[in-house]
Amino acid sequence: MKITFPHMGNVYVVGKILLDELGAEYIVPPFNNKKALEIGTKYAPESACLPLKINLGNYIQAYEQGADTILMVGGCGPCRFGYYGALEKEILNDAGFNMDIIILEMPNGNLKEFLNRVKRLAGGFDIHKIFRAIRNTTRIAKQVDELEKLTFKIRPREIVKGSTDRIYKAFQEDMREARGYDQARKLVEDTRRELLSLEIDRSFKPLKVGIVGEIYTTIDSYTSFYLDSKLGNMGIEVERPVTISNWIIDHIIKSALHLPRDLRYVEAAAPYLGKMIGGHAQETIGNAVLFAKDGYDGVVQVYPLTCMPEIVAQSILPAISRDFDIPVLTLIIDEMTGEAGYLTRIEAFTDLLEKRRERTTIEENRVLSRS
């Protein structure tokens, strides 16, 4: 059994460390690329959202390298993603790719079936091994997310432009080769040191932008046209509250163990959206409010075309923009690989934020000189 799994930003680190620790054989598909998108578009239903298409591309590219089993997460969440694993299996079989799929979910709360699937992955039921694998996977997820957050801070301040991108890209490549938790942890630590040793402009006060939206397109840099690094290289510090470790820890582990979760976003969203309506809409709304309250300069929402929860969120965002006087830009991603349109919007948004800051500074000075 050679396992593979779909890409979504740095999720492959989490996937591979989990499988390393469980002692399973696996193939990491090539990073998201045009070819994967082309393959996915060929086999997926036309109106499906972009993540499904890229998932299929990942599987088929891994199949070509010898993978025969897919590890995918699922769930009965109210977004169609919960059903993608099952759907993808059908599509692959129809297209003649003989691949099996293990979906990690609890079908109708059936714990026994869930454990059976884990057993299949782990090749037995060594509770210590499984426990250690889960612990180390969670740890690495957190470390990688923290490393990414560090790039958000360093990139706008670096003296030699492009340094952060170079180091971070090398890290992502090297991570493909790392084996097991210890090696992965060391690589994260070395990269962190390298980033911290970069020369930065400490007096520079960057504009701050919060990124919200659908999880796949916000986390996966390939699909968002490297939005976070683009903004960073324009001298903007970004923040992205929806992360993989957060998803694993808050949504899977804490809710399975009935532990208290960080629900600040639910509270912040409440005046605008009082319920979970699927996907990450409530996070989008709640986090946009939190960003506004924390003094961020702007918010960017990203989602794949036809994403229902985010369409609802998009229609609520103007109210937040008005109430808190914070600019919001929405980027909708689909199969187009032409970047020009996105770049135009991002640049214009940056111009807008800079002009607003200039104006605020002038007004503050005026108030000061009057008093």
Partner: protein, 332 residues
């Protein structure tokens, strides 16, 4: 005596390529509106030749700005001092013409935009996302299908007694709706009138949703020439539109203004290669980089066999190579 300087603004859009020459007092002294016809490089060079032929010999270009979807390409070929996105360029130009402008409606060839200003600062904008239904190229296509010159398209709409209802959300649906209505016997005027209303409805529902449209409202971009669309906007909004004199080259004008500001701040020398660049031959080719799984599409522009610009690579492998080879210090 000090030589008077001029500024050049270039807007390479999907449908039109516009060039503007502006004097020190920010007056437009010469403007060109050309069809891009899918060949941005050739049209740009033709435009440069026309400019060179029509301007006085001693015209001294102090700064160059480019904008539009082909801004990078144009900037590389003629040597730009400022390369700016078209949203900012349009806002700058509108503000220069109508200083207290609050709303800018801009409909170009392939995209449409709305820009909202508050106290003289852009505070919100939107651009059509995926479909080109409400834009100039769609109107162009319908005009040629109906055999009417695009310049007269709007006046047909004005003669309409009772405009028919046409679906404006999608270019394909709009066209089949139009054909359907035409086959059932509606007059051309009513169909065109209906189309104008549908486009305006779509624009307001899609782009302007949730935004406050307050006067003064400036309507610019190539489609502002269409009196039918302008009338439909005024009916739907119940407000007056201001159409600036140079509505069709506002992007290029904005780029020239931005270049002027930049040169005045920087006091540097312009990057402009001169009008002679139009005599060189330019070639562009795309290479698919196989360096990693990103498979970037790298564009290479060469002038008389010498590579002058490369872009499209995420890691900078191709673009950086060129900069070091030519000793360009702009990397720092």
């Amino acid at each position: 005596m000090k030589k008077t300087g001029y500024y050049l603004g270039v807007d390479v859009g999907s449908v039109s390529t516009n060039l503007v020459v502006m004097d020190e007092d920010e007056n437009i002294v010469y403007k060109l509106y050309l069809r891009t016809c899918g060949k941005p490089i050739n049209v740009l060079l033709d435009g440069m030749k026309t400019l060179a032929g029509n301007l006085e010999k001693d015209v001294y270009i102090k700064g160059v700005g480019t904008t539009g979807s082909g801004r990078q390409l144009a900037g590389a070929i003629i040597g730009a001092d400022a390369v700016k996105n078209e949203i900012t360029a349009h806002a700058v130009a509108a503000q220069r013409m109508i200083p207290d402008v609050n709303t800018i409606l801009e409909i170009g060839g392939q995209d449409s935009k709305i820009i909202i200003l508050k106290n003289g600062v852009v505070c919100d904008f939107a651009m059509n996302t995926v479909c080109a239904a409400g834009t100039g190229s769609f109107l162009d296509r319908q005009a040629s299908r109906l055999g009417i010159p695009i310049e007269e398209f709007g006046s047909y709409a004005l003669r309409s007694q009772s405009p028919v209802r046409i679906a404006g959300r999608c270019a394909v649906f709009a066209e089949s709706d139009m054909i359907h209505k035409q086959q059932t016997g509606h007059s051309l005027e009513d169909i065109i009138g209906g189309l104008c209303e549908a486009l305006v409805r779509n624009y307001l529902n899609n782009l302007a949703k949730g935004k406050e449209i307050s006067e003064p409202i400036v309507f610019q971009g190539g489609v502002a020439a269409n009196v039918g669309i302008a009338a439909a906007f005024e009916r739907a909004l119940g407000k007056r539109l201001v159409i600036p004199k140079y509505y069709d080259v506002m992007g290029a004008y904005g780029a020239a203004l931005i270049a002027k500001k930049k040169m005045e701040e920087g006091k540097g020398k312009t990057n402009f290669y001169g009008f002679e660049t139009a005599e060189c031959s330019y070639k562009s080719k795309s290479i698919e980089c196989k360096g990693c799984s990103n498979l970037c599409e790298v564009i290479e522009i060469s002038s008389d066999g010498e590579t002058i610009a490369r872009w499209g690579d995420r890691c900078g492998k191709w673009s950086a190579q060129l900069k070091s080879a030519t000793g360009d210090g702009s990397l720092m």
